[in-house]
């Protein structure tokens, strides 16, 4: 499945509906579908809030596929080059007063996916993620 999204927070709902339709039509188990919903919320929010703000190329392409027994999610955007997986993991041992919410989203993406990969090619950020499906 391949859909095109505009850089607008309302489009996250469009992506979620597409994911749900894809999950219901195929062999995506509930845990994988929930993990994918989490990942889309985190990554699309980042792209729409930061990556595409200063860019005129505001289209995001979302591709969902089953590859080698895994759910594969690919998100391509023409925003400023940004590798989300380069940022350091949050310090989970800080006391409440010092805890900052930043960084938790990408940390969750890493935890919920079995594979994650970033590349910048032809002016596009390309994030590819895989989560193994239970048979």
């Amino acid at each position: 499945m391949r859909i095109e999204l505009n850089s607008n927070p309302d489009e996250i709902a469009t992506a979620m509906a597409a994911l749900q339709a894809f999950a219901e039509s195929g062999a995506v188990d509930e845990a994988a579908a929930q993990a994918a919903a989490l990942v889309l919320d985190e990554l699309l929010t980042n792209i729409i809030s930061y990556g595409l703000k200063e860019s005129r190329r505001d289209q995001i392409i979302l591709e969902l596929d089953i590859v080698d027994g895994s759910l594969q999610i690919r998100i391509t955007d023409g925003g400023v080059p940004f590798n989300p997986f380069e940022q350091p993991d949050p310090n989970l041992d800080l006391p409440l007063e010092q805890r900052q919410p930043g960084g938790l989203g990408i940390y969750l993406v890493k935890k919920y996916m079995d594979e994650y990969n970033y590349e910048y090619r032809d002016g596009q950020n390309i994030v590819t993620l895989r989560r193994k499906l239970t048979a």
């Binding site: 996250i12 919903a37 919320d41 929010t45 041992d93 409440l96 805890r99 989203g105 969750l108």
Partner: protein
């Protein structure tokens, strides 16, 4: 996302149900802020009706906890299950906040 309020044993209980994500976090924080402005001594967030949380939702819970603590109150969280409980644990919120499975346990712990 639905947010409702109850008072039990001198504790303000707010139930957050549905999905707490990027699309609903703003409305949830606005609704919670009304209760937080009342400076509750004992504040319990019940998540037993919550099916989904993302980091935007964690941000709401963290902001609420910081505010209650800064005003000298106590905040606890109860009822998280399934994916919501897992996300709270992965994010270290189980070490940060008092998480209880059952509401009665949480109320007794104030």
């Amino acid at each position: 996302m639905e947010l409702t309020e109850r008072v039990l044993d001198n504790t303000l209980v707010v139930d957050i149900a549905g999905s707490l994500d990027t699309q609903t976090a703003g409305a949830a924080m606005d609704a919670l802020q009304v209760y937080l402005d009342g400076k509750p001594d004992n504040f319990l967030i019940n998540l037993s009706g919550l099916d989904f949380v993302s980091s935007s939702g964690l941000r709401v819970i963290l902001r609420a906890a910081k505010q209650v603590r800064a005003k000298g109150g106590n905040m606890k969280v109860c009822g998280a299950r399934g994916m919501v409980k897992e996300v709270l644990e992965i994010s270290g919120f189980d070490r940060l906040l008092a998480l209880h499975d059952e509401e009665a346990q949480a109320l007794a712990a104030f």
